[in-house]
């Protein structure tokens, strides 16, 4: 069992990792054909992830309902919402899911009249919490916090049209903050993250990092 669960996945990860790393630098026809084949495999495998996602979601909420966890009533709505959406999607305006997508179906109605406004509402609620946090917690307690606060005020005013009306130099100063200190910090973080990603990839390819294989027996 250990051979099937550990050794074979490690061999696959090593072979594919080395092969695809080298492939990037080889413009030969065989290499391009390999890339095409592997990406199509990848897309097919990624498509199946939706089943794992759906199973995980339903399992989690079914457990909450069964054990009467606090707020278990909301989990019923997960089944209710997902059930209706899946049904209407498969129904495809009466034509069935094996036909091309139909226009003006109930699925479209649900999308534009439930999902779109609900999504926009969820996102816009952030503005209210940000306003509350700005009043209650954004304090100039230390020198670093003061610099952050001053930069935030300049960028917030300089990035909206009213900024130029308050002081004509606000937008250029905000642009400078974004283009110089912000860019330098972001680039530093980006380089650090990229080096980390390369190191992790090498650890996975050479079998040093095995967390992706899962635990248990």
């Amino acid at each position: 069992m250990n051979f099937l669960k550990r050794t074979i996945p490690l061999i696959i990860a090593f072979t594919m990792g080395v092969m695809m790393s080298l492939q990037y630098y080889v413009p030969h026809e065989v290499s391009q054909s390999l890339l095409k084949g592997v990406t199509r495999w990848g897309i097919t495998i990624a498509g199946f992830a939706v089943f794992i996602g759906a199973y995980s979601l339903f399992h989690l909420h079914w457990t909450k309902i069964k054990r009467k966890h606090p707020g278990w009533g909301y989990s019923i709505f997960v089944f209710f919402g997902a059930g209706i959406t899946i049904f209407l999607g498969l129904h495809n305006g009466g034509e069935g899911f094996w036909q091309n997508k139909q226009e003006g179906t109930m699925f479209d109605w649900m999308y534009f009249n439930v999902q779109v406004p609900a999504g926009a509402t969820m996102f816009s609620i952030l503005a209210f919490f940000m306003a509350s946090a700005a009043y209650r917690t954004f304090r100039a307690r230390t020198n670093e916090a003061t610099i952050l606060l001053v930069a935030a005020v300049i960028v917030m005013l300089g990035r909206v049209p009213v900024g130029a009306l308050i002081w004509e130099y606000l937008p250029p100063i905000a642009d400078w903050i974004m283009s110089v200190p912000n860019m330098a910090a972001k680039r530093g973080i980006l380089i650090g993250v990229s080096i980390g990603a390369i190191a992790t990839s090498l650890k996975i390819i050479f079998g040093i990092e095995r967390a992706y294989l899962g635990g248990g027996d």
């Binding site: 990624a46 534009f112 999902q115 926009a120 954004f138 005020v153 990035r159 909206v160 009213v162």
Partner: protein, 270 residues
């Protein structure tokens, strides 16, 4: 002081609601000058000859609609007005409805025909894998469009085999797809890439702007408003600038008043 510091947050919420609502009811126009980042995208599209192809990746879902949909519509107006063929796609499962509506409704205003002047390829799972697949062969990645029509031989895709055949590619992103388009698309298949993103992601994109890995950047509703002004089609994004300005002013006021009360109350010495 203490009472003011512990004010019920619902009063703050009410002030934010008023700051959004009043400028929508009492309209006042504010100047929206275009920044060089937004102008980069505008100039690139303007330089494309008639009949060129542009790929727009609608990589967002309804949660980011308010910022990115106005951007998409402004871009589509510019493309259709210049007789550029538009190819749309999305890597987000929640994106097809918004993308299809934006392309179809804007196309209709210019008398454009689906399959001839534009095509929406729909959603494909796999992120980077889809980009690589499109870079190798677009028909392999999308054998059919969103409406089930075969893409092979479609007039809207005439002359297109892979990503490198597009005159310009734009990613409208609410997540990390811009970095993926740079690493797995632009750098590998060598095409010009522009980006539009939510205001939250905007600061992350500056390193790519400076290195010229993206031709231009539209960030948040302000970016969309600048584009609307550039194409002379002022719509939702420009209208949104007044409430956004007032809310920003209010939040700055909250920060200043909150800090003033904090220091006056003596809490800072504890």
């Amino acid at each position: 002081m203490e009472r003011l510091l512990r004010i019920d947050r619902r009063y703050l919420f009410a002030l934010v609601a008023l700051a959004v609502t009043i400028p929508l009811l009492i309209r006042f126009d504010l100047p929206v000058p275009a920044t060089k980042e937004v102008k980069g995208i505008y100039d690139k599209i303007d330089s494309l000859p008639e009949g060129s192809h542009i790929l727009i990746a609608f990589d967002y879902d309804p949660a980011s609609k308010e910022e990115l949909q106005p951007m998409a519509i402004a871009l589509l107006h510019h493309c259709f007005r210049n007789n550029i063929k538009v190819v749309g796609m999305t890597l987000y499962p929640g994106g097809p409805g918004l993308a299809d509506r934006a392309i179809t409704e804007t196309g209709k205003q210019y008398g454009k025909v689906n399959g001839e002047d534009y095509v929406f390829l729909g959603f494909k799972t796999g992120f980077e894998l889809v980009m690589i697949n499109m870079g190798e062969n677009i028909y392999s990645a999308f054998p059919k469009d969103f409406h089930g029509n075969s893409t092979v031989g479609m007039p809207a895709l005439e002359g297109i085999q892979s990503l490198e055949d597009f005159g310009f590619v734009i990613d409208l992103a609410s997540g990390s797809t811009i970095e993926a388009w740079i690493a797995f698309g632009k750098e590998k298949y060598n095409f010009d890439l522009g980006a539009g993103c939510t205001a939250v992601i905007g600061p992350d994109m500056y390193p790519f702007l400076q290195s010229k890995q993206i031709t231009g950047l539209m960030s948040g509703l302000k970016g969309a408003a600048e584009y609307e002004v550039l194409i002379g089609h002022e719509a939702h994004a420009v209208a949104g600038m007044s409430p956004q300005s007032v809310v920003h002013l209010l939040i700055v006021l909250f920060v200043l008043v909150g800090n003033f009360l904090y220091f006056m109350s003596g809490r800072s010495k504890i």
